[in-house]
Amino acid sequence: MPTRVVITGLGVVSPIGIGVPQFWKAALEGRSGISAITSFDPFPLEGYRSRVAGRILEFSPNQYLPAGQGDRVDRYAQFALVAAKEALADAEFRMEREEPHRVGVIVGAGMGGMVMGEREITQLYEHKRPHRVHPNFIPVITLNSASGIVAMAYGAKGPNLTISTACSSSAHALGQAMNYIRAGTADAVIVVGADASITPLVFAGFCSLRALSTKYNDAPERASRPFDRGRDGFVMGEGAGALILESLAHAKKRKARMYAEVAGYAATSEAYHMVIPREDGVEVATTMRMALKDAGIPPAQVDYINAHATSTTVGDAVEVKAIRLLFKSRADKIAVSATKSLVGHTLGAAGSLAGIVSALTLDSGQIHPTLNLDDPDPACALAGLSTHTQTRKAKVALVNAFGFGSNNAAVVLKKITT
């Protein structure tokens, strides 16, 4: 039997709250974190087809971090630091009591340090002064800046990795962290998902890709509506989620509080198209099946799915098709929720937030509502979706995460039984 892996600490930076208690309270109350973008100064707002996003307003890293710790990294890495700090404190994880080379950091990030990246590129092309490119530009935009700074902040000298698979990045971070601990390479891994790229260029890029919601610019809170007939694209969000994973034995030895067990994981490629999913849902169903097989759990035992559900027309329907393919008549007995209806699509942070929500669901027996499901699309009909908070003693949760590049991930969490 492989080494069992458990989650002992959580941390969140999100558009509906910084800190797990704030986030979870807002999630259960069904509060939306989506607001209007009122300026992309100096760019004309009318050039952006979408003008809504799940932004974290008035974030000040110094409010949460030791002085200077977040000064030399980009916004997404600041989010990562804040989430990791909360998760470590929540786990009562004391690095001074650990063998540092057996504590890893794995970060999932889709876009990385785009705030400084865009600024420096703009200035170079505008002023044509290469000698004025900031000396910290390369360290900031290098995609492993968050995993590096988190390790440095806590002296975690084990495996230090960044996984960038677009919107599935941090689901893979969770799965790979589980594998490192299972393999005995690490006792604990700080898993983080983070992105903060609601920036003029990246946002314009997603607009041009016609991936974002554009119909609800005047009603931002209604824009992210997974599974609803009126959905018209995803809403960009930003944030970070952090989870402390450790072996069950290690957690027991520390007498740590445990939220859930990370029981299985699968990573696949559809090898199909850069941005379009296979419409038959077969590959998504296969990914979920493989993750459950890895966990040694039959599909019949799944009680809850945290759906990828980005609020795109095709993507949501494909996921439901896949759920029906795998779970057949039982599909309607599974509770389902779409966290992106609350916070938008936080890209690289999405998988970690889904993992956190699933861990809290297993721990508390409460399932957050899916917002804006006013007129359920028949192509996405699942009886387990609700606009209200559901109470269910779920024992097995499945986290779905799919990314550009034909990338799929599924992670299985299990209620703690020791």
Partner: protein
């Protein structure tokens, strides 16, 4: 004011450039997906070129009505030379987009 043939020629040429094929082989009855082999991403890329050629912004909601070469031509013609007020505007139904994201 742009004439229909001018719009038509420019669009067919833009399509020919994008598809790397002879403009004469592209007909207004051609379906973008079935006949020309464009997937939804390729349609978006092609419309991006057309927006540049005609200095237009095509709202996402209008994409659903653009499935044949003829429909694209009629749509662009309507945008560059607005029809009389009584004429029917392009329908804005559900978006066709479905990114994996």
């Amino acid at each position: 004011m742009a004439k229909t043939t001018e719009v038509s020629d420019k669009i067919i040429q833009a399509l020919a450039d994008y598809l790397k094929r002879d403009a004469a082989s592209i007909h207004t009855t051609h379906h973008l997906r079935e006949d020309l082999g464009l997937d939804s991403m390729a349609v978006i890329e092609m419309l991006y070129r057309i927006e540049e050629v005609f200095n237009l912004q095509i709202p996402d909601q209008d994409l659903v009505g653009l499935t044949t070469v003829g429909q694209v031509i009629a749509y662009v013609q309507g945008r560059v030379a607005p029809p009389p007020a009584s004429a029917k505007k392009p329908t804005a139904k559900r978006s066709t987009k479905g990114k994996k994201a």
